[in-house]
């Protein structure tokens, strides 16, 4: 395995939470390799440490012990500003609750990461539009989150995650707030981005049905990796007929 292809490399990573007197070992030694172009699902029971792991992978937090290399850089000891830089350049986040800025248009939401990169307005706009086109929302540029359906909001969030051209897309229960129909839409989009653009995706889910769409499935149990193996026959998410997106419809 070529090291340069390794996007995420974790060695005996631990996370210990301290709340007052209480010490909680949320991750107890995670060793993990994810290479460029993989589509990984992380499953496991509630409270097993999936989100904790995602936060570490996404440089939102620092491991208590162990080593973590992101795209070849050791990020385990970085300070807050350096982690912010890493999040801006290397990571794209998608959350369960969409986490778009309210009363702010889809276009501006997608531009935001580029603004923090200090990019000029024109370039920002161009790339944001491109990204929104990619998720099939070219006709909703000026809609605010309140004027979008849940599935559309999650697609805006995906566009925002992709606009920085990240090394890896991290999605923590991206379909958790969606009904089964829009869940399929979002999964189909992720599969297409993975297939056509070679996007590396790490997705947390506790729905087996959703996990089945990935090519590799990791199960976390009690802060440890319970199982890790390929999914030789990923389920192809089906786009629902009547989907509003011609682009998605075209690629289905």
């Amino acid at each position: 395995m070529n090291d340069r292809d390794t996007v995420i490399k974790m060695e005996r990573v631990e996370k210990i939470y301290r709340t007052g007197e209480l010490v909680f070992h949320a991750l107890r030694g995670i060793t993990l390799d994810i290479r460029a172009g993989e589509f990984v699902a992380i499953g496991g029971p509630s409270g097993s440490g999936k989100s904790t792991l995602m936060n570490l992978i996404g440089c939102l937090d620092r491991p208590s012990a162990g080593r973590y290399l992101l795209a070849g850089h050791d990020v385990s000891m970085l300070d807050a500003d350096a982690r912010a830089f890493a999040r801006n350049r290397l990571i794209g986040f998608v959350f369960q609750g969409f986490n778009l800025l309210a009363r702010t248009s889809a276009l501006e939401n997608v531009e935001l990461p580029l603004a923090y990169r200090g990019l000029g307005a024109k370039e920002r706009r161009r790339r944001a539009i491109e990204s929104l086109e990619l998720v099939g929302l070219a006709d909703k540029l000026n809609n605010t989150p309140a004027q979008l359906s849940g599935g559309q909001q999650q697609r805006v969030a995906i566009a925002r995650a992709l606009v920085t051209d990240p090394k890896v897309l991290l999605a923590d229960e991206p379909t958790g707030n969606l009904d089964s129909r829009t869940t399929e839409d979002v999964l189909a989009l992720l599969q297409r981005l993975h297939r056509e653009h070679g996007l590396t995706i790490v997705m947390v889910t506790h729905e087996p049905d959703v996990a089945q769409c990935a090519e590799r499935i990791i199960v976390v149990r009690d802060g440890l990796i319970g199982s890790d193996g390929p999914n030789p026959t990923p389920r192809r998410a089906e786009l629902n007929t009547g989907s509003s997106s011609p682009l998605l419809a075209g690629s289905a």
Partner: protein, 408 residues
């Protein structure tokens, strides 16, 4: 630079979303800045008008009025017996080495007529030294002379306001106007002195030989005068001159030891000091209002920013997650606080100018607005934004991204 510009745009957006809240929040700062602006305008106006007054009235001036000093400050009741005369003036000029020039003064009101034009003004009767005492220059012509004085000559010097009322463009010198019933030749035009700080117009006057006024306008026999104006040689000699003058007049009027003076001596410094005291009382009051209002305003800004930070915790989490540094968040909220309070400052500037003008007009005090007022308004309100916005902004910047994202 980009960071600040972005923060500024975010601030404007956030503030326009909460216009009412922003408006109420800046009220304190608005009032505080308005008070500061009004105060400096009045202060500047005061010093300008005091200088103006010094120039207009003549430097190192003493006034002597007849009458007792029982009601202090104001010119007291004129005694039944006239107490000041031209002889007193002569004696002061003759005997006091500290004195530079002396001018006895009587005044009368009169209609001045030229052809079809008609103007009511105040006529001052005095000696040629009057110009020296009042440090009054002529813009045209030459003053009446000692000979005019002796002969009660019908010559006059007119002020600029009188000239405007009677003459158009033509040269008034040598023209004859009628004052009351007396025809009178204009020999000089007094240089304009402008407005006094009590709102009076110095140029609305005519100066004539005291003898002519007495004979033709007042018809009072004898040598009584309404006041004597005395200019002292040097500033340092003022107290000395006042003492000597008092002693001299007491002796001349035969005031017994222990009895009250039958005249009053006033000096410009006293007058100015009274004026200055009133103004500084007002200034202190305004300053106190300003400080309280600014403090309250600043706390209001801090409060609303804390509310804003906690309302927008999730937004902060999102921004952090997609790559904002804590400095970006700090900038965002600090700039919002500064923008908020600066808006208050600008509104306060407008209010201060308005209120200062009205106050000045109501009290007949001159106000002067300088660019300093605008600078002060900006600096104070901006400074308050920085000081009171820093704590909330820092709180926002120190949020942990995960905690912030989980908020609500």
């Amino acid at each position: 630079m980009g960071m600040w510009w972005m923060a500024f745009r975010l601030a404007l957006r956030s503030l326009t979303r909460n216009k009412l809240r922003a408006g109420l929040t800046v009220l304190g700062i608005l009032i505080g800045v308005a008070a500061v602006v009004a105060m400096t305008a009045l202060g500047d106006g005061a010093s300008a008008s005091i200088q103006n007054q010094m120039g207009a009235l003549g430097v190192n001036l003493l006034w002597v009025f007849p009458g007792s000093n029982t009601s202090s400050g104001v010119r007291g009741e004129v005694g039944s017996r006239p107490t000041l005369s031209e002889d007193d003036a002569d004696a002061i000029a003759r005997e006091l080495f500290t004195v530079q020039a002396v001018a006895p003064v009587i005044t009368a009101s009169a209609q001045v007529v030229l052809g079809a034009r008609n103007y009511a003004t105040r006529v001052t009767g005095s000696t040629p030294d009057y110009l020296r005492v009042r440090a009054w220059a002529l813009s045209r012509g030459s003053p009446f002379t000692e000979a005019d004085l002796r002969l009660a000559a019908r010559t006059c010097m007119i002020g600029e306001t009188v000239r405007k009322a009677l003459f158009d463009q033509g040269d008034p010198i040598g023209q004859t106007v009628r004052i009351g019933r007396m025809p009178c030749t204009v020999v000089a035009l007094l240089a304009p002195k402008g407005q006094g700080s009590f709102g009076q117009d110095y140029d609305d006057t005519i100066v004539m030989p005291i003898t002519a006024v007495r004979a033709r306008l007042r018809h009072t026999p004898g040598r009584e005068v309404d006041q004597i104006m005395v200019s002292v040689r040097e500033q340092d000699l003022m107290a000395r001159a006042q003492e000597q003058l008092t002693a001299l007049l007491r002796q001349r009027h035969r005031v017994a030891d222990g009895d009250e003076n039958d005249f009053m001596v006033r000096n410009l410094q006293d007058l100015m000091a009274t004026l200055e005291r009133t103004r500084s009382t007002l200034s202190t009051l305004l300053l106190a209002i300003a400080c309280i209002a600014l403090l309250v305003g600043g706390i209001g800004v801090m409060n609303i920013m804390l509310v804003s930070v906690s309302e927008r915790t999730r937004e902060i989490g999102i921004r952090l997650a997609i790559g904002a540094r804590s400095a970006d968040i700090l900038a965002q909220f600090l700039v919002e606080a500064v923008t908020l309070s600066t808006i208050g400052g600008v509104a306060g500037l407008a209010l201060g100018v308005g209120a200062g003008t009205l106050l000045g007009r109501a009290m007949e005090w001159s106000v002067r607005f300088s660019p300093t007022a605008a600078v002060i308004a900006f600096a104070t309100s901006g400074g308050i934004g920085v000081v009171f916005g820093f704590f909330p902004a820092r709180r926002a910047a120190q949020l942990d991204p995960i905690t912030a994202l989980r908020h609500e």
